[in-house]
Symmetry: C2
Amino acid sequence: MSIQLPLITDPLLQDEIERNGKIKVFEPGQTIIEPGQYIKMVPIILEGAVKVMRTDEEGHELFLYYIESGETCAVSLTCCSTSDPSDIKAVAEEKTTVIGVPVRKHEEWTNEFRQWKDFVAMTYQKRFQEMLKAIDDIAFKRMDERLLKYLIVKSKQLNTLELTMTHQQIASELGTSREVISRLLKQLEKRKLVELERNRVYVRDNLAGLLEDIDR
Amino acid sequence: MSIQLPLITDPLLQDEIERNGKIKVFEPGQTIIEPGQYIKMVPIILEGAVKVMRTDEEGHELFLYYIESGETCAVSLTCCSTSDPSDIKAVAEEKTTVIGVPVRKHEEWTNEFRQWKDFVAMTYQKRFQEMLKAIDDIAFKRMDERLLKYLIVKSKQLNTLELTMTHQQIASELGTSREVISRLLKQLEKRKLVELERNRVYVRDNLAGLLEDIDR
DNA sequence: AAGCCAATGTGACAAGAGTCACAGACTTTT
DNA sequence: AAAAGTCTGTGACTCTTGTCACATTGGCTT
């Protein structure tokens, strides 16, 4: 099996990754990294998507961003180099195939392969910007806006208008309580932007089109 | 004049930085970078401190973190590589001396000097963690806690218990309104943690000692 | 000293979000 | 079919924060 990463075309580097990486498959919902764990591998997502969240001491969670296929995780890059434990939690959002690269190789390749260096730089850049976006949302937006955006992003992410999840799950990811989400979803339903069923939020297509406005 | 950076001891690299960098001095309060500006230089702080803030479209500000002497700015590192405009605002907090290094040199050194590469990695790592801390504060803490922490961090930062600033300035940095800060400061005064005067907040020493608890 | 302006203090109110309690509705288990 | 468990809907209340209005204070200018 050959590795296909849009940003890595150098056959030598591809070969290196294939020979040194360990492939792992995670089922939807499976936790990949938890806060406090040490990271020994730099994971590159081959297929699927990973949800990255911040958690606080009291168990509150907060969705930060997705890592999609072809991307890697900035936190692991930084944690590795200093061998600090992880600050974040990562959960497979879909069935996800990951290739884990030993830290040592990452350091080697940074010296040897221009493309690897660019890949790493790109990753930092992208994650930084997503963190900034997350901060904007949390600091400056109200929960209804955040919920709306969350639903749209998630439905794009999973490429479906049918989101199978409970209000409680949504609430956790947005760092609020179930009742708040129930109420806000009900409002969205009244505005004909979603349809609600048990364990399911159906994103109506007039909402799905709004992404551009919201994502800026 | 010779450059003193704790993380850069390689004399060859020091020499390179000295020969290729341009030194600039910023007065306290002077804006170094504003959102939308393009960054052509990687700034390394030689002396002083720089305050990094996020801003939204409506002019709200939000303090993210300080860059202190010996450090560089992760945003500029990422912005440079992609020549995107800045997402953030940076203001000199004290009188600050900066040496600006051309982007091209940064790329060169990444290949040539192990120490430069480590320096850059360190920077990313540190900024990432500060962003996460900022997110924690915004998402999970109330304004009174944030204010307390802000005062302590600022007083450590400037190495003084006398903070010369108005309530409005504090409010801006915490992304709230002047009245809220006035009220909360008054509460802190009642709790004997600060003393208030026009244009001045005096951080009492029983408060200053709290940093460890708060910063985790 | 009078006037002015920026900074601060404060009460009153509104909006958003979090919490509690509890009622239904739907599923799964027994 | 009954019971148990999960999920959702909702009213009532509280807390925090934001906003408006206005009074007061301190310091500077003229």
